[in-house]
């Protein structure tokens, strides 16, 4: 059947929630028959083209208790329905979390960032989710709530496969917690798309902590190059404890590129992704190192 994106043909019941408790109660009742609506930039498109079906749409976009950015000396906490533009506009994000700032700034169109939420970007489970690589390198955790309680999951364990996450059918992602980076740290995010407002064909994020001219902590994550956004610990270990030089950065980037499993899809080919990822990764590691105050 030809899809007509002029209308949303699927029929469903709409449940608007103003509190998290309401949303969790509805979700406990309807479970896999329901879908959570936040910004709608992924869900409504998927429902239009028929790749997602549901009987109930539970809207959480107007739940004020899930819309915030709060920071203290230990961490930044972001409510799940905070829009990508609100994240982009946060002074704390801009000053302390360069990789996250660069990721949200790079995403789609202004209008899509006005609508789309950070929680939705994660729950959509795309290997190309732009907020995933930065959250991976900042060692973020996510709070998942259900009617029965709450659990905290490291972001490294959240993604299970394309479109699949650890979120249970009765759970809602409520909050993202990102530890506050310490002194002498730097981070960066880079991506390649086909045009200015596009889904990434490759994305990379790097976080580095420096001790003199030595790298003391390094975390590297890549998106769109494997079934899930992933860290590359073998490559990270090559930097830790060593004096950072341009040659070492190139070697790390090359190693990281051997650890990815890219596919060929409508945005890029597997071989292009493998060839280009070490190049943008080299740039991202260099930027993170220099932002931490390191010299080259």
């Amino acid at each position: 059947m030809k899809t007509d994106t002029k209308i949303l043909a699927a029929e469903f019941d709409y449940l608007q929630c103003l509190t998290l408790a309401d949303a969790l109660a509805f979700l406990a009742q309807h479970q896999e028959k329901a879908k959570i609506l936040a910004g709608g930039t992924d869900l409504i498109v998927k429902m239009k083209i028929g790749s997602v079906q549901c009987e109930q749409v539970i809207s959480i976009q107007n739940i004020e208790e899930l819309n915030y950015l709060r920071s203290d000396t230990d961490s930044l906490k972001i409510g799940a329905v905070t829009t990508l533009r609100e994240v982009e506009g946060s002074e704390v994000v801009k000053a302390r979390y360069s990789a996250l700032f660069e990721a949200v700034r790079s995403m789609a169109a202004t209008s899509v960032r006005n609508m789309g939420t950070i929680g939705g970007n994660l729950c959509n489970g795309s290997p190309a989710a732009d907020t995933a690589p930065p959250l991976l390198v900042f060692d973020a955790t996510v709070n998942l709530a259900s009617k029965c309680g709450e659990r905290i999951v490291p972001i490294t364990e959240f993604f299970l496969g394309p479109g699949k996450t650890t979120l249970a059918v009765d759970e809602v992602l409520t909050e993202i917690t990102i530890p506050m980076p310490g002194e002498y740290t730097g981070s960066s995010f880079l991506k390649l798309g086909r045009v200015a407002a596009d889904i990434a064909k490759i994305s990379v994020a790097v976080f580095i902590q420096r001790s003199g001219q030595t790298c003391s902590v390094c975390r590297i994550a890549l998106g769109s190059v494997a079934p899930v956004p992933l860290r590359v610990p073998e490559a990270e270990a090559m930097l830790v404890g060593n004096t950072v030089t341009p040659e070492l950065i190139i070697a790390v980037a090359k190693t990281a590129a051997t650890l990815i499993r890219p596919i060929t899809d409508n945005r890029s080919t597997s071989s292009y992704r493998s060839k280009v990822s070490p190049i943008i990764l080299e740039e991202a590691i260099t930027a993170a190192w220099q932002r931490s105050g390191g010299e080259l």
Partner: protein
């Protein structure tokens, strides 16, 4: 699916409507309120032709459920100005030849309006960055950017 009652402020006027949960804001504006300035382009949130302002912020009406904007305020291109009293952006688009086929124009105008409200004096790169999700198939971008810049300078 049962129709539900919603109230919207559209271009400053209160409107009451009956909508089904799957009615898109785009179609409610065009079909129920007969505001044809908002266009259906790609239908999947990639082209910007259906841009409207929701509480002053640019959103894509082709992927917004009308039922979700109950109680909120919408501005369409008809709310910017009219033939007798054009909005400065509309005059500037005409003056700079920033309209070719016209299909992207309402989205460009509304996104331009949102930009100037946030940043009254944007640089060329900032305009291009802000408008990057509004596609013009006639590729008239240079004139569109100039038209917006001219309004910023006048203000």
């Amino acid at each position: 699916m049962e129709k539900r009652h919603i109230k919207l402020t559209v271009n400053g006027k209160e409107r009451e409507l009956l909508v089904k949960p799957n009615d898109l804001l785009l179609n409610v504006l065009r079909n129920d309120l007969e505001l044809m300035g908002t266009k259906y382009g790609c239908g999947i949130g990639e082209c910007g032709a259906c841009t409207v302002l929701l509480n002053g912020k640019a959103v894509l009406s082709c992927i917004v459920l009308a039922i979700t904007v109950d109680g909120q305020s919408i501005t369409t291109v008809e709310g910017l100005g009219n033939y007798a009293d054009l909005h400065p952006l509309q005059s500037s688009f005409i003056k700079h030849g920033a309209i070719q086929c016209g299909f992207c124009t309402s989205g460009m105008l509304l996104t331009g309006e949102a930009l100037l409200k946030e940043n009254p004096n944007p640089k060329e790169e900032e305009i291009r960055e802000y408008l990057r999700g509004n596609l013009c198939r006639c590729t008239g971008y240079a004139a569109i950017v100039k038209a917006i810049q001219a309004v910023a300078k006048e203000a």
